[in-house]
Amino acid sequence: MNIIERRKIWFALSGAVIAIGLIIGLFSGINLGIDFTGGALMEIEVHQELPVSEIREIVNEFDPNANINLLGRDRTIVQIRSTIDFDNQERLEIFGKFQEKYDLDLKEDFLRAQQFGPAVGREIQNRALISVLISALGMLAYITFRFELRFGFAAITALIHDILIVIAVYSIFRIPINAPFVAAVLTILGYSINDTIVVFDRIRENLKFMKKNNYEQVANDSIKQTIVRSINTSVTTLITIVALYVLGVEQIRQFALPLIAGVVSGTYSSIFIASPVWVMLKEMQAKKTSYNPNPETK
């Protein structure tokens, strides 16, 4: 199969997924976690599935815009997410309303509460952005040092692709973007670059035997030689993450889903994005240097 030749198909496919995700994101608004926006989250076990309207009645008093979810196997856990950073007193007051109405126990039934001031949210957001940028630059530098700048650019293109895909998945499934999201993205960066490097390493090796500057052929051969490894590695990684997703608790599932998307995207991008982009960059370079009296330049 000539993967490189059909690159337009792959680019279009990725472009479509990203576009759908971003459009949905633009229309319904990206769902930012409270650690990014500032706010509070509370989870209360009420031992019965309550109609949301009944919960809304209680919560409206504190924040009419709060987000209400029912969690747990029997949907008996009420989750309230607000962009108001209720302090401890206010949280106890809100719980008190539930306690009174449904006869709850403060020790047992107030499962979880989290609160982030708005300034902290901005800080976490900035730190997240900086860390993604620094990792990308560090990887670019390392690849340029070990390989060549064009490999670096191609790898970074694949990384940006993966991040966009993951953001698209987040916005399609309306998962809040929060600090674990950043950890997931950085893990995906690591995984994806790892995958890409294995293909590029093979290209680097095969370049020695290249005939007539046929970069397309080299890339295709290298992909063919490494594809079993790429698939097997993503299979073993996926096995573990899917186990986490299926068996894990809510917080872990929120983290596992983007990782699943990221691992699939990372494997896909090293084959269908990074390698074709590298070939394009090399062919552009070859055209530029075709006036060069010394055709040996790579």
Binding site: A113, Q115, F116, I197, D201, T233, T240, L244, L247, G248
Partner: protein, 418 residues
């Protein structure tokens, strides 16, 4: 040679099994015992339940004065936390104006936050239980010298001055000769920090607590009285509480996910790679032991994201083995002998593994540098995992593979997946 290799191989399997058993269930030999890993690791708040709060001081103070204010606040927090009788609380300054309080395993998390963050309760109580003053009445408390020895001078507001003069007057009048009944207890959060005896009626809102105080004692006492009210307004800027039940549930389900995930990966490797698969699986078990052992040695805290990273890293750790085995197959197909294939396969896979893992390591280190709390736990596990996976693939897999080949069990390349 064959016998020797076989013995080493069997010893290795026995050793790994013993280590794995110890890690899972612990071990008792005579009066020495090793606890299982799950018990010897510190658990994060998300696993054992508990509470953390980050407070920010609302103040324009800087430098030494800020340091002193923060230190005082931490001191007050410490006393309150100790009064709750909690184990292993963590109270640290974070950055300039922030204080992080972590209370693992606290049963009533919401109330605990409430108690710690409240403005303190400093009370002056007479022998017969009358409350004379509260912290709000004390304007100043500082060390001064009476007859050349250190004492604590108090300055009260007008309301405090009135009730203090009234109370001391009454004590002086009613209990003239008896020192015990003339005592005023200064109580901070239910703890008596001083019990001076009234010598005369005190008017005008100024009083001295004297005794054979050392400078240090007097200064501490002044700080305590002053600190009755927190020295600065605090804002709760970040907090999280989790019940222990929720934490335990998270731990159990993650461990279950880990077990099933690992078993499936082991099966996959066995079915797909056969003989090398066994080697890879042995290496994988060793890998998991190394990672867990390192985390215990680093005294790392086990968090939910940390467990996720651990499970994820198992999937990824197989990668280096997969790279090696795929190379091995290629070499075998090219017509080389098994021994030659192992040598050249490892040599060629080595560079790939290093390059691929160093880039992942970069992501892990950045994550550690910029992450907070649980994210850091994730990063540490990831970093330890990457280094351990390189080590097991390059050193241990090679060692076991050579051992197996040395046993001359088979000349059948099919068993190597080729």
């Amino acid at each position: 040679m064959r016998v020797k290799n076989a013995i080493i191989f069997i010893l290795l399997i026995a050793l790994v099994s013993l280590a794995a058993f110890t890690a899972l269930f612990g071990l008792e030999v005579g009066d020495r015992s090793i606890r299982p890993i799950s018990q010897s690791m510190k658990q994060g708040l998300d696993l054992q339940g508990g509470v953390y709060v980050v407070y920010e001081a609302k103040t324009n103070l800087t430098g030494v004065e800020l340091d002193r204010t923060i230190d005082q606040t931490i001191g007050i927090f410490n006393r309150r936390v100790n009064a709750l009788g909690l184990t292993e609380p963590i109270i640290v300054r974070e950055g300039d104006k922030r204080i992080r309080v972590e209370l693992p395993g606290v049963e009533n998390a919401q109330e605990a936050i409430d108690l710690i963050g409240q403005t303190a309760q400093l009370r002056f109580i007479t022998f017969d239980g009358e409350e004379v003053l509260t912290g709000a009445n004390v304007r100043k408390a500082e060390v001064n010298f009476v007859d050349g020895s250190p004492s604590v001078g108090l300055e009260l507001d007008s309301e405090g001055a009135n009730s203090f003069s009234e109370a001391t007057g009454r004590l002086d009048r009613d209990y003239a000769p008896r020192a015990q009944e003339r005592t005023i207890f200064i109580v901070l959060d239910d703890e008596v920090i001083s019990d001076p005896v009234v010598t005369e009626r005190i008017t005008g809102g100024r009083a001295n607590i004297t005794g054979r105080f050392s400078m240090e004692y007097a200064s501490n006492l002044a700080t305590l009285i002053r600190g009755g009210a927190l020295p600065v307004d605090l804002e709760e800027i970040e907090s999280s509480t989790i019940t222990a039940t929720l934490g335990v549930n998270a731990l159990n389900r993650s461990v279950q996910a880990a077990q099933i995930g690992i078993i499936l990966v082991l099966l996959f490797m066995l079915v797909y790679y056969r003989l090398p698969g066994i080697v890879a699986n042995l290496a994988l078990v060793i890998y998991i032991l190394i990672v867990l052992g390192t985390l215990v040695a680093l005294n790392a805290t086990l968090t939910l994201p940390g467990i996720a990273a651990l499970i994820l890293s198992v999937g990824m750790a197989v990668d280096a083995n997969v790279i090696i085995f795929e190379r091995l197959k290629e070499e075998l197909r090219a017509g080389k002998t098994i021994r030659a294939s192992i040598d050249s396969g490892f040599k060629r896979a080595f560079r790939t593994i290093i390059d691929a893992n160093i880039t992942t390591l970069i992501a892990g280190m950045v994550l550690y540098q910029f992450g907070t709390g649980p994210i850091r736990g994730f990063a540490v596990t990831l970093i330890v995992g990457i280094i351990a996976s390189m080590f097991t693939a390059i050193v241990i897999t090679k060692f076991i593979l050579k051992l197996l080949v040395g046993m001359n069990l088979t000349k059948n390349n099919k068993l190597f997946g080729a």
